[in-house]
Amino acid sequence: MIDVINLQKSFGEHNVLNGINVKINKGDIMCVIGPSGSGKSTFLRCLNCMEDPTGGQIIFNGVDIADFKVDINIHRRHMGMVFQHFNLFNNKTVIENIMLAPVHIGLADLKKTKRQNSIIKLTNLFRSSKMKKELSPVTTDKAQIKQKAKENALALLDRIGLKEKADVYPSTLSGGQKQRVAIVRALAMNPDVILFDEPTSALDPEMVGEVLDLMKDLAKEGMTMIIVTHEMGFAREVANRVLFIDGGQILESAPPEEFFGNPKHPRLRDFLSKVL
């Protein structure tokens, strides 16, 4: 689903990623670990071009999204992202946070279809009756898009047990609640993959569990996930592949049993001996 080919990223003179090659398949749960400053976040943020790669390709569903010519916004709809600091929209209620993108994108698509239809109608005036082009069907309207998004958002909130928080502002939620809302905000787009950047690092210890549990549920349902984390236990339990990044390169890539049980690269062995 995602094919990363020789990915490079530098900030000015500073080379942070030095040729990353990795393939992510549908249903993969890939955990990324490594020392601080090794380029884990940069790697993750390059996958949806939050940082523009300075070299290499990111083939997502057959399209190289590292190419500046593609409309990145369209591809980002299919890649959710969850941040360390949640980044819920502070000026929107919980349910608005979840509905915002689906509604906006639904309305934008509707507008586009209607615009195209009116162009077709106009050009049809000049076509002979046999040559007339078909209009694309408009099967929905504004109210319906909003209604659907709302129902979906409520169902998602129900799933994480926060339905009664639908109309409150994020500032009143606990860290764990915020992160769970952020996760369902990503889910609301029906993404093909969700990228997590240390989703539990900013949480109080007693709230880590509720977020990891939700992520485990998603994993069971077959969601494709790429997770930068320091939670070794979680990686061992949930991941089907673990990457070790250091110095902007993948030094080891293996299933968790092998990764933790029989690490090959000396720097990974050194790293594990410090954190485990």
Binding site: N48, R77, G80, H85, N87, L88, N91, L100, V168
Partner: protein, 236 residues
Amino acid sequence: MGDFAKKIDTFLDVFINQNGYVKVLNGLQNTLLIAVLGLVIGIIIGTIIAIVRVIPKYKVLPRILNGLCSFYVGLFRGTPIVVQLLVFYYVLLPLLGVRISGVNVAILVFGFNSGAYISEIMRSGILSVDHGQMEAGRAVGLGYWTTMLKIVIPQAVKNILPTMGNEFIALIKETSVVSFVGALDLYVAFSNIGSNSYEFMVPYLVMALIYIILVLIISAGIKLMERSLRKSDRRH
């Protein structure tokens, strides 16, 4: 003291019996019109400039726009408002062959001028919003402008509301120079009353009082608005 009482009588006579109040109401209307519409124009121009100035500048177009905006801000902040009024009214508009009234010129010039100041206020407001808000918007597939307008700007506006209130008060006070381009404002109204009666002490005193009352009312309005905004922070 008897002298002062007589002066008050003279003023009241002109104010009430010789239709002085009509002039004052007219002047008050123009003063408020110039300040309010100037502020509206200023907010629109200021917001656009502020966004242009915070756009990432990898590409050529944003750089050019940014240069133009810096020039604009420098120009309007670097010259006195009276000079701007005079240049517009007596130089630019005649050169362009446009004829518009002094009040309209004043609205435009105060709009352009406050646009320059508001752009700086708005820019600091935008920069005060956590960058994660923009990232989260972009991450769900919203474009830069959509995220800016729906997520970042509303939060920026909330942060800068008190400063904007001060800008409005400053605007009200500064409009007292629009007589330079023949606009009839509060100052002109009272100075006319003074010339009619050859007595300026009371008219100018009353004028000062009106300005103070205007400013007090606006300050109170701003406080109310801030309080209701803070309430929405604590909602539930």
